[in-house]
Subunit: 386 residues, 2 copies
Amino acid sequence: MNKKVAVVGIGHTKFGRFPDATLRELAAVAGFSALEDAGITSPDIDFLSVGVASGSLSGQLSPAASVADALGITGAPLYRSEAACATGSAAIRSAYTALASGASDIALVVGAELMTRVPSAKATEYLAEMGDYGWEYPHGITFPGYFGLIASAHMKEFGTTEEDLALVAVKNHENAYHNEYAQFRKRITVDDVLKSKMVAYPLKLLDCSPLSDGASALVLTTEEHAKDLSDTPVWIEANALASLNNLAAERKDLATIPSVRLAAKKAYAQSGLGPKDIDFAEVHDCFTIAEIVVYEELGFSGRGKGAELVRSDQTSIGGEIPVNPSGGLKAKGHPLGATGVSMAVEVVKQFRGEVERRRYVGGEVALTQNMGLTGQYSFVTIYRRG
Amino acid sequence: MNKKVAVVGIGHTKFGRFPDATLRELAAVAGFSALEDAGITSPDIDFLSVGVASGSLSGQLSPAASVADALGITGAPLYRSEAACATGSAAIRSAYTALASGASDIALVVGAELMTRVPSAKATEYLAEMGDYGWEYPHGITFPGYFGLIASAHMKEFGTTEEDLALVAVKNHENAYHNEYAQFRKRITVDDVLKSKMVAYPLKLLDCSPLSDGASALVLTTEEHAKDLSDTPVWIEANALASLNNLAAERKDLATIPSVRLAAKKAYAQSGLGPKDIDFAEVHDCFTIAEIVVYEELGFSGRGKGAELVRSDQTSIGGEIPVNPSGGLKAKGHPLGATGVSMAVEVVKQFRGEVERRRYVGGEVALTQNMGLTGQYSFVTIYRRG
């Protein structure tokens, strides 16, 4: 890339169910927090990158202008990205290329989603309509269904068990217990997961991330301005994106998500780093099986060996490579547009030491991985403490 | 910008009502045409930028992955932009910054929309839901309503008449009559416009762009590859984006669209060119009044003098500065995601001389202007014949 880019401000709302909030309000809370954190105000922003996955969920079909309005940003370039559950990462990438290209100098990235305004069944329907409308959605498949297929394939191929999946949920709930922004601050046991209601075999309710309202935000800038805006800039060492064929029915091996591997390969090449250099990671555990497959695709474990990491506590705080110290999508919550941005916020907080002691992992290099749909969008970003 | 970017391939479907088509099919027709035009194939693409404004209209809520699938593009970075009626220009900008930053080398931009699958009243509703959902949409305002307010203000302030508005429609229908891709290839008279059904005073049916299905596509690349892929590259000399406050109720002067002026100012500064250097333009005539206001904001006429240009035929083919030789949104059609891309396709066709003799305007420098909502997104791009 032509210019280096750093994160110099962060903002985050609590994730949860906020029946009285609007999308623009959530976005404004996170956005203003990030501006304040960077010590700047709305007129300093020359690119506003908004990530909202679904207009249908909030009722605002073209959402970015109302977010700009709530933030008092007028005149500056305005952009909305959509990449399903990776929408927040798409919004980061949009700002990243704008800054790296020289088109803008200081960008505000705001990811937000309001998912609980409509009844849960309607929200699930809107999410299902993000699947292929031609050949798969009409047959009734939903996203728990897709990831149920992935889990079944992984269990058959590699011997992963329902208990292994449950261990991911238990770990992430433990981490979220200490995160003041998390939707679920409740410890759970393997037994709780196994006894929770079946959603899509073998995934049970406690294997699934929830419907969430929430927003998160970043101020990004180029190397020329980073030191002026922050004593603790966090550098984007790599930002990679890869795609995957759309129809699950046409995939050769459902136990893998090749776009994650491809994006990771690109990110490692861009940064000159490898999986061993990563101190901790925030990854896309929309369903517990996803986290296990992602371990493998990122090279944290060998193929088919992902479950071993969680069995041996290597991805818990205190382990070899802590994953999802924030609590992840599973327990922190998953407001689609906010999720990718929230991962970056967690990285910055860890680097700065701005987290509860019991979930502090620290380190110098962190990786975030966020995907849309079942991997049709895969983002991998590597951050370094400045 | 760090790298120069050129258009080296174009594709376009006919615009119109295609009850048997799907979004992905339209996108594939335009996309494959652009690849063929550039002499490349899907695996050569390392960035696919998809512009679709509304998932609700087509039934595919996260549309980019199905477009990638239809084009056989897998693995490459995939992106979806949404900027309401300027979605196509947002998709171009996304590719432009990716190329200029060095993140990608050869990008395919595909803009598409399927607007006639749902009944017209439902489509109008989905479009209205792009307006502010908090304070304006609930009061019943639709986009014809917003532009009716703009027209009323312009008439009161500057003496623009309903006949002036009608002249824009007559000119653009005349141009579309010779465009094989246009939705309406039917000449109309001022009288036809004035006698057509009132939609939102003073705008009548023939002052309004239609609901359209269609797609258009571009191959973009950097200076390193442009000459290899095309003997007739078209260079992007400037690409500017500006925003405007969201609530029409809070605007001081409805007879102006300040974001268009701001984007034009930026584009002129980037290119070192001015309005006098522009040989022809494709602009956003979603309603006839928009074209007149845009003349003023782009500096083609003085403030309040826009109507004089159309009265004196200066924006007709053969005039001083032909505007919308393609027939514009008004008569070529306005499939939201395709529109901004289609403007660029028209520029390339004119530069190459690939249009019917009676609508050939030629030239060396052209400008496109595309806006979303009522100017919350304003894109101005300047192209130069290579």
